[in-house]
């Protein structure tokens, strides 16, 4: 067993910062209304002298202009669950601890590589999403959590090394029950190693069974007893904007974040999304809904973003937008498109699927299609947009352009070939009885025309031999 612990010391603040592109001083505050305290401060606020634990009134005295937002525990919890979904890509055993996520990677190593490789790619995922983090690995989840809070990047791979590493840990950082830590440090016991040497029955008598259980879990002598994370089957995320947004261009940044989150989440559960909806929420509970649909399930961040942006460009905002909501109920499986080893496309080519979604987003959902020939001899029914994999080739010449609706053709004509009578379709109410000719017009065009049987007048143009 090898557990990785990702601690997220600035979870709530990172969750707020990642949807803003500016760098104004910002703090999160919490506590009763008359004694509000700073619980998190961003870099520019810290530069100005604000610190965690400071009274809000003191902070206001120090700095005239800064933004204070209430700390939202539910929001932080949502981010933690989101990151657990991202971590789910690395392991099927993911669990949540306070301000931390643990995952078991010993069985993923044959797929993802050694610990260093996994660590690097975890870090790059988290940094790309904008979350500061510390990572450590140990044979038990709680030991990994303790080590991560001591020093970032520690990895102990065996039980013996873990035991030695834990012995040096100060008790205050050992995540043991608080009343025990208080009492033990007053007794002169400062390190975990000293505690582990003490007789168990004495400890149990003095501190109860809870302390011993925690120690056993820490060392792996008792099962960790974690409740494993199960990714939800539907996505429903909401972002509140910091101010009212009146033009679409200002929504691009938060939407880019949302779609890349969606991509990260989808690759975590190895799925794709074909249809999702973006709701632009206005004052008074009204919302503009922007449905986004793609031809195939996708999970690439760029494809999702481009598809959303293309739909959004056509939206007229009736009122300022207060918040965004992204909903996806149907998350089908994702099958990546196969590529040739000797691909003839240039190296930096945009995948064709992405190009097609881009065109559909701007030109409409039905704007890009293929034609296939059917075996119906009536020209009006001879083709459809579903490709029939058919090798039948009509032995009589057919034009290359077909008019969607025949139109009268006037002027001098010279008959080159024909007639070819098409008389069919009586069974479906669209009976056709025509003589088709190939004619040449005065301008030298070759046309495919028809007339009533045996008449050779009243020509109707139906196609061009272009």
């Amino acid at each position: 067993m090898l557990w990785v612990c990702i601690t997220l010391p600035h979870l709530a603040l990172d969750g707020v910062l990642r949807r803003r592109s500016d760098d104004v001083p910002l703090v999160l505050v919490d506590g009763p209304a008359n004694a509000r305290c700073v619980v998190a401060a961003n870099a520019s606020a810290q530069d100005a002298g604000l610190y965690v634990g400071q009274r809000l009134t003191a902070a206001q005295a120090l700095l005239a202009q800064f933004e204070a937002m209430p700390y939202d525990a539910a929001e932080a919890d949502r981010w933690q669950r989101f990151l657990a979904g991202v971590a789910y890509r690395y392991s099927s055993q993911v669990a949540l601890l306070p301000q931390a996520i643990v995952l078991e990677i010993s069985r993923s190593r044959s797929l993802l590589g050694e610990w260093q490789t996994i660590e690097r790619s975890l870090r790059s995922d988290l940094s790309a999403l904008g979350f500061r983090h510390d990572i450590a690995a140990a044979p038990t989840p709680h030991a990994a959590q303790v080590l991560a809070s001591i020093k970032d990047g520690q990895a102990v791979l065996t039980r013996e090394v873990m035991q030695r590493a834990l012995e040096a840990v100060p008790l205050v950082k050992s995540h043991l029950p608080e009343h025990a830590v208080d009492a033990l440090s007053r007794m002169g016991i400062r390190r975990l190693g000293q505690l582990l040497c003490m007789p168990r029955d004495g400890l149990q008598r003095r501190f109860g069974a809870e302390l011993l259980q925690t120690i056993d879990r820490l060392l792996g002598d008792a099962p960790a007893g974690l409740e494993l994370y199960v990714p939800p089957d539907a996505v429903d995320w909401r972002i509140e904007l910091s101010h009212e947004v009146e033009n679409i261009a200002a929504l691009v940044f938060p939407i880019k974040r949302m779609t890349s989150d969606l991509a990260a989440y989808l690759s975590g559960r190895d799925g794709g999304v074909q249809r999702f909806a973006l709701q632009l929420e206005h004052r008074g509970g009204k919302a503009t809904e922007v449905p986004v649909g793609m031809l195939l399930p996708e999970r690439d961040a760029n494809v999702l973003f481009e598809a959303t942006r293309g739909r959004l460009e056509q939206v007229q905002l009736p009122a300022p937008v207060l918040s965004l909501r992204l909903m996806a109920n149907d998350l089908p499986g994702f099958v990546p498109a196969g590529r040739d080893l000797f691909d003839e496309r240039p190296a930096n080519a945009l995948p064709f699927e992405q190009l097609r979604e881009r065109l559909r987003a701007r030109l409409g959902d039905r704007a890009v299609y293929r034609w296939g020939a059917t075996i119906d001899p009536r020209p009006e029914h001879s083709q459809c947009t579903t490709i029939l994999d058919d090798n039948f080739i009509e032995p009589r010449t057919r034009p290359t352009w077909l008019l969607p609706k025949p139109i009268p053709l006037r002027g001098m004509l010279r008959i080159l070939a024909g007639p070819e009578r098409i008389e069919t379709g009586w069974w479906d109410g669209d009976a056709v009885r025509r003589d088709y000719y190939i004619v040449e017009t005065e301008q030298g065009q070759r046309a495919w025309v028809y007339c009533a049987p045996d008449e050779q007048c009243g020509w109707m143009l139906h196609g061009w031999f272009a």
């Binding site: 034609w371 009589r396 009578r421 065009q445």
Partner: protein
């Protein structure tokens, strides 16, 4: 004197060329028309460039000119894009010319978006060829297409009315189709060589072997029965629910 410029660089860039003394690099994009290939500097379409085809009217063989190329390209992996074609491509007619329709994507775009869509397709690098029918295209927008074709290494074809011939164009190759007095192609501009002064005869319509041919350009239906389409294979018609009555030709 400034820096010395190697002559070979200038020649490779095709900004300076030696009349007809050396054969330019042969491109990998033959047009499928031997007489046209023979006069073009690259012995085919200019690679990754814009070709402008000017027409007096629709239906004089403009598609037959490019269909051999499309038939060859659609055997590959990359699709061919048709952007805002003036009519619906007749699936069976294209299939008769050897085009695999699985690799042909049609894009319906309104007038404002034709050039945008063409540029996106060309620039993406995932298309083998892009055929566009813009109603209005100026020098600037054509230049954008030329640059995009070069970026995405794709063939670009733009079909326009003949009246734009007088306007300058950044296309690497400009062809004018003429139907009168006989079908022919005029090469109006070709990068890397002098445009030939004579029209190239062009027979856009297939002739079946052994046909009793009176008029010089009588097109003939290539049926199994080789009698100028007057008598067709009745069995085959009846199998497919068509009744066919032979009628004498009204000439």
């Amino acid at each position: 004197m400034g820096t010395v410029v190697a002559l070979s660089n200038l020649l490779e860039a095709r900004q300076v060329w030696r009349g007809r003394s050396t054969a330019p690099v042969e491109g990998g994009q033959p047009t499928g028309w031997l007489m046209l290939d023979a006069v073009l500097p690259a012995h085919g379409w200019p690679e990754a460039s814009l070709t402008e085809i000017l027409l007096p009217a629709d239906g004089i063989g403009e598609l037959r000119l490019v269909l051999p190329t499309l038939a060859r390209l659609t055997q590959g992996q990359r699709p061919v894009m048709l952007i805002a074609p003036p009519y619906a491509p007749c699936a069976m007619g294209w299939r008769q010319q050897g085009v695999s329709l699985q690799r042909v994507e049609i894009v319906d775009a309104d007038e404002k978006h034709v050039l945008w869509a063409a540029e996106q397709c060309l620039r993406s690098g995932s298309c083998a060829a892009v055929l566009a029918w813009p109603q209005q295209a100026d020098d600037r927008s054509l230049r954008r297409l030329q640059v995009a074709a070069d970026t995405g290494r794709a063939l670009a074809f733009v079909f326009r009315d003949r009246r734009y011939l007088a306007n300058a164009s950044p296309a690497a190759l400009r062809l004018e189709l003429a139907a009168w007095p006989q079908p022919s192609i005029w090469v109006r501009k070709c990068r890397g060589g002098n445009a030939p002064t004579q029209a190239i005869p062009f027979e856009p319509h297939i002739k079946a072997p052994g046909c009793r041919d009176k008029a010089p350009h009588t097109a003939v239906i290539p049926t199994k029965a080789d009698t100028c389409g007057e008598q067709m294979d009745m069995l085959e018609f009846e199998e497919r629910g068509i009744r066919f009555l032979p009628i004498s030709r009204g000439e």
